[in-house]
C-alpha cells in the first residue's frame, strides 16, 4: 500500500499522538493495578487510538469536543495536558477538574474539550446544543461529538441527530464503534443496519471508515471539517474499531473468545499498522521506535508528577456547586 508523495511528517505525527495516547493509558492502568492510586473505574481506549489521532489535530483549539467515559485519547488529542489529566485520574489537586470528576468527567474547556460523560449517549444532544450555541453566537466554532456504538440505542442519538438536522448545525458526529456495549456484543442488541444507516435516515451526510487506519482518517478529517465550516451542516462518521482491553481496567473481557482479541492484537493494532506504513515508506526504524520511547518517558513523568500531587483541600467539596444557595454558606 505504498503511496507516491507519502507525507512522512504527517505519518510520524499520527504515530506520535497514538503512542502518547497508548502510553498515557498504560501508565493510568499501572497507576490503577500496580500502584492502587486510581481509585475509581477507568475505561481504556487501547486499540482505538487512530480515531482521535487522525481526526482531532485538524481542529482549531477554539473548536469544541464532547466525549465519552472512554475519552482519554480524545482529550489528549484535543490538546489537554497529560499531567493535569493524570492528576485528575488520581483525584489530586491540579487535576483538570480539581479532582472532582476523575476519568469519566475529564474536561479541559481551555482547549475546547467540554467534557467526557459518565452517561452513555448523553453527550450527543448536548453536543448538538453546543453547535446550536456556536451558530447563534456566529463565532465560527464547530463541534466534534464522539460516542460509542452502544449509544446509538439511546434516545439522545435520535433526538440529537434530528436536532442537528432540523437546526442545520455545524457538528461532526463520530460513532467510535468498538463493537462492545460493556460486556455485550452491540450487534446482538441492535436492530437494523446500525449507526450509519440510522444517521443517513436523518438526511445527514454519512461516511464509513476503517477506524484503525490512521492515515485514512487523517485524509478524510480535513474534508469533513471543511465541509462543515462551509455548509454549516452536520456530518456523521462511522469508524469501526476494536476495544483491545476490557470495558474497565478490571474487566478481563472473559465474555469474548480470546482468539478474537488475540487476532486483533496481531493483525489490527492501529499503532503497529502505522509503524508498518511508515517503515514501508522508508522511515528509519529508530525514529519509529523513538515515538514510543518518547511517549513512555512523557507519560511516566506525568504519572510521577501526579503521584506526588496533594489531595484537593477538603473544603473544595463546597466550591462550584452553585452561587445562589451555595453549600459554602448553607450546607443543610
Amino acid at each position: 500500500m505504498n503511496r507516491a508523495n507519502y507525507d512522512r511528517d504527517r505519518g510520524m505525527a499520527l504515530l506520535r499522538m497514538m503512542e502518547r495516547i497508548r502510553a498515557f493509558e498504560e501508565q493510568a492502568e499501572l497507576a490503577a493495578t500496580r500502584d492502587e492510586l486510581v481509585l475509581g473505574a477507568i475505561h481504556l481506549s487501547i486499540g482505538q487510538e487512530a480515531i482521535p489521532a487522525g481526526l482531532l489535530p485538524c481542529l482549531n483549539t477554539t473548536d469544541l469536543l464532547l466525549s465519552t467515559h472512554r475519552g482519554h485519547g480524545h482529550t489528549l488529542a484535543k490538546g489537554a495536558s497529560p499531567v493535569a489529566m493524570m492528576k485528575e485520574l488520581l483525584g489530586r489537586a491540579g487535576g483538570c477538574c480539581g479532582g472532582k470528576g476523575g476519568s469519566m468527567h475529564i474536561a479541559d474547556f481551555g482547549v475546547g474539550m467540554l467534557g467526557a460523560n459518565g452517561v452513555v449517549g448523553a453527550n450527543i444532544h448536548i453536543g448538538a446544543g453546543a453547535a446550536h450555541g456556536a451558530k447563534l453566537l456566529g463565532d465560527g466554532r464547530i463541534v466534534v461529538d464522539i460516542f460509542g456504538d452502544g449509544a446509538i440505542n439511546r434516545g439522545p442519538f435520535l433526538e440529537g441527530l434530528n436536532w442537528a438536522g432540523v437546526f442545520e448545525l455545524p457538528i461532526l458526529f463520530v460513532c467510535e464503534d468498538n463493537q462492545y456495549s460493556a460486556s455485550t456484543r452491540t450487534s446482538d442488541m441492535t436492530a437494523g443496519d446500525g449507526a450509519a444507516a440510522r444517521a443517513r435516515s436523518f438526511g445527514i451526510h454519512t461516511t464509513e471508515i476503517d477506524g484503525n487506519d490512521a492515515e485514512a482518517i487523517a485524509d478524510l478529517a480535513p474534508e469533513l471539517v471543511a465541509r462543515i465550516r462551509q455548509t454549516g451542516q452536520p456530518e456523521f462518521l462511522h469508524a469501526r474499531t476494536y476495544r483491545l482491553h476490557g470495558h474497565t481496567y478490571f474487566d478481563p473481557a472473559a465474555y469474548r473468545p480470546k482468539a478474537e482479541s488475540d487476532r486483533q492484537w496481531a493483525e489490527d493494532d492501529p499503532i503497529q499498522r502505522q509503524r508498518d506504513v511508515l517503515a514501508s515508506h522508508g522511515q528509519q526504524s529508530d525514529e519509529i521506535d523513538k515515538a514510543r520511547s518518547d511517549a513512555v518517558t512523557e507519560m511516566e513523568a506525568a504519572l510521577a508528577d501526579a503521584t506526588i500531587a496533594p489531595w484537593p483541600a477538603d473544603n473544595t467539596v463546597f466550591d462550584d456547586v452553585q452561587d445562589i444557595g451555595s453549600p459554602a454558606q448553607e450546607a443543610f
Partner: protein, 318 residues
C-alpha cells in the same frame, strides 16, 4: 405600576431581558405561536425564530441542547410545557446540568432558566397536574423558584435569567390569568420570602398558588380575630429560613400548606427546621399520597383548600 396577568408578567420579563442581552434565547415546543399557555405572546414577532425557537417534541434534546448552548456562552430559557413532561429530560437536568460546574472543577457554568408549568387546574389527570418542586430542592446545583403572583413572575423571572446557576422555574398553571399590579423596577433576591399578611398569632408558610389560597384563608381568619403571618417562600432553594424562624419564634404556631404530596414534601423540611430551632406547634397540609384524577370530585379530594387552611389554623390556635 402596570396591571398584568401572571402569564403576561413572565412574557414581559423575558422580553425585557432579551432586549438587554442578545445571549438570551428561548427554546421549546410551540414557542413560535407564543407558547401553549401564551406565556411567550408577542415574543416571536419581536425576536424572530432563532431567539424564540420552536423545537421538536424531544424533551431530552430541548434540555440537553439548551445545556450545550449554555456551555458555549448563550443563556437559554427552556420551556418544558408541562412539569410532567420535563421528566423525559431528567438525566439532562439532574445528571448533566446540575453537576457540570462541579464535576468539571468550576470550568463551566449553566446559566439556564428551566420553565416547568406545574400544578392542578381542572381535569388534567395524573400526567398533567403534578407539583414536584421538592424533587428539585433535593438536587445540589439547582435553584428552585415557585412564583405565586404577577409581580413575582416578573421580578423572579428577571432574577432567574440574570442568574449564572441553573434555575428550575415552576409556574402554576391555574393562575396564568391571575391579574395584579407589577412594578418592573422591583427586584428580587433569591431566598427572600414575601410577607403576604402580617400577624402575631400564627405563622403560615406556603408557596406557589397555595400561597394565594393561604392569603385568602388568612383574611378570613383576620375577620375572626386570628392574625396570621403569611410567608410566601417564593424560592425553595435557597429558602428563607431566617424569616420563617423569626416569625415562628414570635407566634409559636407553624402551619405549612402546599399542593404537592405531603409525604416527603418540602413542608417536611420547613417543619423539621422549625422543630430543630424553636419550641413551636407544627401542622402540615399537603396532598394525600394518592394520584390526581380526571373526575372533578376525585381531583378535589387531593386539594388543599382555603377552608382546610382556616380549619387547621383554628384548631391550632384555639
Amino acid at each position: 405600576m402596570e396591571q398584568m396577568t401572571y402569564a403576561q408578567a413572565a412574557a414581559r420579563a423575558v422580553a425585557d431581558a432579551m432586549r438587554q442581552d442578545p445571549a438570551v434565547w428561548c427554546v421549546g415546543e410551540d414557542l413560535g405561536r407564543g407558547g401553549v399557555f401564551k406565556q411567550y405572546a408577542g415574543l416571536p414577532e419581536e425576536f424572530g425564530p432563532d431567539r424564540i425557537s420552536d423545537a421538536p417534541i424531544s424533551e431530552a434534546a430541548i434540555m440537553g441542547a439548551a445545556f450545550g448552548a449554555a456551555l458555549v456562552g448563550t443563556r437559554p430559557i427552556v420551556e418544558m410545557r408541562f412539569a410532567d413532561f420535563a421528566l423525559c429530560a431528567t438525566d439532562e437536568l439532574v445528571n448533566q446540568i446540575a453537576k457540570a460546574r462541579f464535576m468539571f472543577g468550576g470550568q463551566s457554568r449553566a446559566p439556564m432558566v428551566i420553565r416547568k408549568p406545574m400544578g392542578m387546574w381542572r381535569s388534567s389527570a395524573a400526567q398533567h397536574s403534578q407539583s414536584l418542586e421538592s424533587w428539585y430542592v433535593h438536587i445540589p446545583g439547582l435553584v428552585v423558584c415557585c412564583p405565586a403572583t404577577p409581580q413575582d413572575n416578573y421580578s423572579m423571572m428577571r432574577a432567574a435569567i440574570a442568574c449564572d446557576d441553573p434555575v428550575v422555574y415552576l409556574e402554576h398553571k391555574d393562575i396564568w390569568a391571575l391579574e395584579g399590579p407589577v412594578d418592573v423596577a422591583e427586584s428580587y433576591a433569591f431566598g427572600k420570602a414575601r410577607r403576604r399578611m402580617e400577624g402575631d398569632d400564627l405563622t403560615i408558610v406556603s408557596w406557589s398558588n397555595t400561597a394565594n389560597v393561604a392569603t385568602q384563608a388568612a383574611m378570613t381568619l383576620a375577620g375572626e380575630g386570628v392574625n396570621a403571618d403569611v410567608l410566601d417562600l417564593r424560592s425553595l432553594w435557597p429558602w428563607d429560613k431566617e424569616s420563617v424562624l423569626e416569625s415562628v419564634r414570635r407566634t409559636g404556631h407553624l402551619l405549612i400548606a402546599h399542593e404537592s404530596v405531603q409525604v416527603g414534601g418540602f413542608g417536611a423540611e420547613v417543619a423539621a427546621t422549625a422543630a430543630e430551632h424553636t419550641p413551636c406547634r407544627i401542622k402540615r397540609l399537603g396532598s394525600p399520597r394518592s394520584l390526581i384524577s380526571y373526575a372533578p370530585n376525585l381531583e378535589d379530594q387531593l386539594r388543599v383548600t382555603e377552608q382546610m387552611i382556616v380549619d387547621a389554623a383554628r384548631a391550632m390556635y384555639s
